[in-house]
């Protein structure tokens, strides 16, 4: 990598950006882009990269083919994948063995390799290019889209797509007040969950008295099931940092922090590297581009506490203390980090800033619904065919996301619920699939937008088990400061756990509702105030499942261990012995080609047989023993 010299003036920066833009135009004929975020690497992208490098060298194509290693492209299901430019050919699920064929056939001979193309689950049709794939068709990738174009470890790459032109615009054309007005006018709301208008937050911070102010990037993406912030920080850290520099200018902050989860090692590495490069380039530090402005940026790593996503807890954590929230007001915009006015915004919010400056407030305001502008990234995961990160305009329906983009539920199973907003959100049933997604509609339905996790559940998911899961998570993560949250989540978990074990009784559901409302109303921070959502929403939409557990001692989905037993369906069993080999407790009897039998006294209900059977001959049935008890 070329070493970046310190850029001394705005004119010099402009010139460098122009040079880099030109050098992108003059790139070799073929550019192979490899998706290599955390998911890609977990699926073996690094080995594919090595193999591609070797194949390029073996054919002597080093000058003619450029290999660009990028962050995540969002289509996690298809990892490891590559896109070959300028044609945009999309190859998926690659192994190192494919590298040589790709170089020989596609690069040298221009042939398309059929078997590496994406195949539509429903129609069986192959797609050659990325934009022909249904997963991408309804998306509007204004934030995520550039991940495909960037080596996230290269500042030059970011310049080459016009990066930092928005900073130049703010420095040369806009006063701090004008920046804030632009953000206000765009209608941008916080992407971290609560949806507070970003421009209003900035204005309040700017107007708060005092010379020392801070900006913070909240990258403590603790919601299980959400990972868009990781993807943005890994794949396009400069966009976030440019947004922070612009925000600092507008607010009058001279210091900033990027707070990233410790569980995201690659994101930490890329952000650290990006900050380092920006200092060397003179875009951070004292007298930025000779303008006399100072802005220092630091990185703070989280240490594994969900509650630190709450802004006052996050501030305590940066100060080196236990991450306990405090009462608001005063809000951080008045009294934040070390008691100074502070603006905390989420990763995705910061990433939107340079785009709004570049394209104007009206551009963002033209996307989305009346009250929710722009796009939102969702992580579409769980029981869904096309898992991955999807960026869609606000106002799109759940149905469009789950069926048109997500390709529906695997194995022809029935959709049951979609969980949005993580442990602070709720589970929405099939009757709400036509709900247009924005901040207000989700809140009205008993869930929240949250950071954008969207976990799809099918008929084999038990809603009592899901409620138990979230309550267990919340009682574990409650910091313990408010008794209503500490004891409320604990007690609700105990009741739901009992229900899932067949020990539920009349009156439990009413008690749960009472506890949920008390927890909601008496707790101080966002965690406690929303802790009731998972239980209230499941009770609201799936009450019959709770009742089946309580009154019939039955788990309709066949999940709750105490209420089920595994049995072999004689008509379907081929006697292949897969289940017998998989069983860790030796509970399965049967000889080859004969129907097998599960000895219930030895069975530990681990589910290994169910997983091993390819003939759907193992079934979770109602446990009879518990009725006898």
């Amino acid at each position: 990598m070329k070493r970046m010299k310190k850029i001394k003036t705005i004119a010099e920066l402009k010139q460098i950006i122009e040079e880099q833009e030109l050098s992108r135009k003059n790139e070799p004929m073929k550019v192979i882009t490899v998706s290599s975020g955390t998911c890609g690497q977990a699926r073996g992208s690094l080995k594919v990269i090595d193999a591609l490098k070797r194949a390029i060298k073996a054919e002597g194509l080093e000058e003619k083919v450029k290999l660009r290693i990028t962050g995540c492209h969002g289509f996690c299901e298809a990892e490891p994948n590559i896109i070959i430019y300028p044609d945009g050919i999309f190859y998926q699920k690659l192994t190192p063995a494919d590298a040589q064929t790709i170089i020989k056939e596609t690069i040298l001979e221009g042939k398309i390799i059929e078997k590496l193309l994406y195949k539509d689950q429903q129609t069986g049709k192959r797609a050659v290019k990325e934009d022909e794939i249904p997963f991408y068709k309804k998306q509007k990738r204004i934030v995520l889209g550039d991940n495909v174009l960037l080596d996230p470890t290269s500042l030059q790459d970011y310049f080459s797509i016009g990066g930092f032109r928005s900073l130049i615009k703010t420095l040369t054309e806009l006063t701090p007040d004008e920046i804030i007005q632009t953000i206000k006018k765009s209608g941008l709301r916080g992407r971290g969950g609560a949806g507070f208008p970003t421009g209003v937050k900035w204005e309040a911070t700017r107007r708060s008295p005092g010379d020392i102010k801070y900006v913070i990037c909240n990258g403590d993406e603790g919601d299980p099931g959400a990972y868009m912030d990781r993807s943005v920080l890994e794949g396009n850290p400069y966009r976030v940092l440019e947004g922070m520099i612009i925000g600092a200018l507008a607010i009058g902050a001279k210091d900033g922090y990027v707070y990233v989860r410790d569980e995201y090692p690659l994101a930490v590495r890329h952000v650290t590297l990006a900050i380092d490069q920006l200092y060397k380039a003179g875009l951070l530090g004292k007298n930025i581009l000779g303008t006399g402005l100072t802005f220092d940026l630091h990185i703070a790593k989280g240490a594994g506490a969900f509650v630190c996503g709450e802004e006052t807890a996050l501030i305590a954590s940066i100060e080196g203390r236990v991450g306990e929230p405090r009462q608001r007001p005063p809000f951080p915009s008045v009294k934040g980090l070390w008691g100074k006015p502070t603006s905390i915004n989420n990763v995705e919010t910061w990433a939107n800033i340079p785009l709004i400056i570049k394209h104007g407030a009206d551009w963002l305001a033209s996307i989305g619904t009346k009250g929710s502008k722009g796009t939102k990234i969702f992580s579409l995961v769980g029981k869904i065919n096309n898992t991955g990160l999807v960026e869609v305009p606000m106002g799109i329906t759940l149905k469009e996301i789950i069926y048109d983009i997500g390709g529906g539920i695997p194995e022809g199973k029935e959709f049951k619920a979609v969980q949005t907003g993580g442990p602070s959100g709720g589970c929405l049933p099939a009757s709400l699939l036509n709900l247009p997604i924005d901040y207000e509609s989700l809140t009205g339905a008993g869930s929240i937008m949250g950071s954008g996790g969207m976990i799809v559940m099918d008929e084999k998911t038990c809603m009592v088990d899901v409620a138990r899961y979230f309550l267990n998570f919340l009682r574990d993560e409650s910091c313990g400061k408010c008794i209503s949250c500490r004891e409320g989540t604990q007690r609700m978990w105990e009741i739901v756990k009992d229900i899932s074990e067949g020990k539920g009784k009349k009156g439990d559901l009413e008690l749960l509702e009472e506890l949920a409302i008390a927890t909601k109303e008496a707790s101080m921070c966002g965690l406690g105030q929303t802790a009731a959502n998972p239980i209230l929403s499941t009770l609201r939409y799936f009450r019959d499942e709770f009742e089946a557990h309580i009154y019939e001692k039955r788990c309709p989905a066949g999940v709750c261990k105490k209420l089920i037993r595994y049995v072999v369906i004689a008509e379907k069993c081929t006697g292949c012995q897969s289940c017998k080999k998989a069983c860790p407790s030796g509970a399965i009897q049967g000889t080859l080609k004969d129907v097998h039998l599960i000895d219930q006294t030895k069975c530990i209900k681990c589910g290994a047989c169910l997983e091993a059977c390819q003939f759907e001959a193992i079934e979770a049935q109602r446990e009879v023993a518990i009725l006898v008890e």
Partner: protein, 157 residues
Amino acid sequence: MSANQTLNLDKIQEIIERHSRNKSKLIAILQDIQAVYHYLPADALKTASRLLKIPLIDVISVATFYRAFSLNPRGRHVATVCLGTACHVRGAPKILEEFERQLQIKKGETSEDGEWSLESVACLGCCAIGPVVVVDGDYHAHTTIRKVPNILKKYRK
């Protein structure tokens, strides 16, 4: 390292000096100490308390509040099972149980021979490829109950 070995306090002092004995860097300091020892030895906490002039009780409250810190020595290998929502609905609890059976330790424990520690994490953010298990920093995607013994075999000598 095992708990019985004497601690190199110079190393700890060096870490604290690197952060300019800054009280507000306590979490970063503890992270750096843990990066060296894989846990937070008692003497390290005492040294941090003394040099940073923070009461020991406050150092311990930070060390026990955050999940990433461990006060007990960890095994030579660490297996971490992700229990995020997406992994959960795809069967992560069963994967964890299989690890518990295979390693004969419970979540949060270290085997007596010091070879293995078994941990869980709230979410690793690789939800699309769940259930996910991380062993010594390597990510294993789409884990099934049957894959567990093979995963362990790679790390067992």
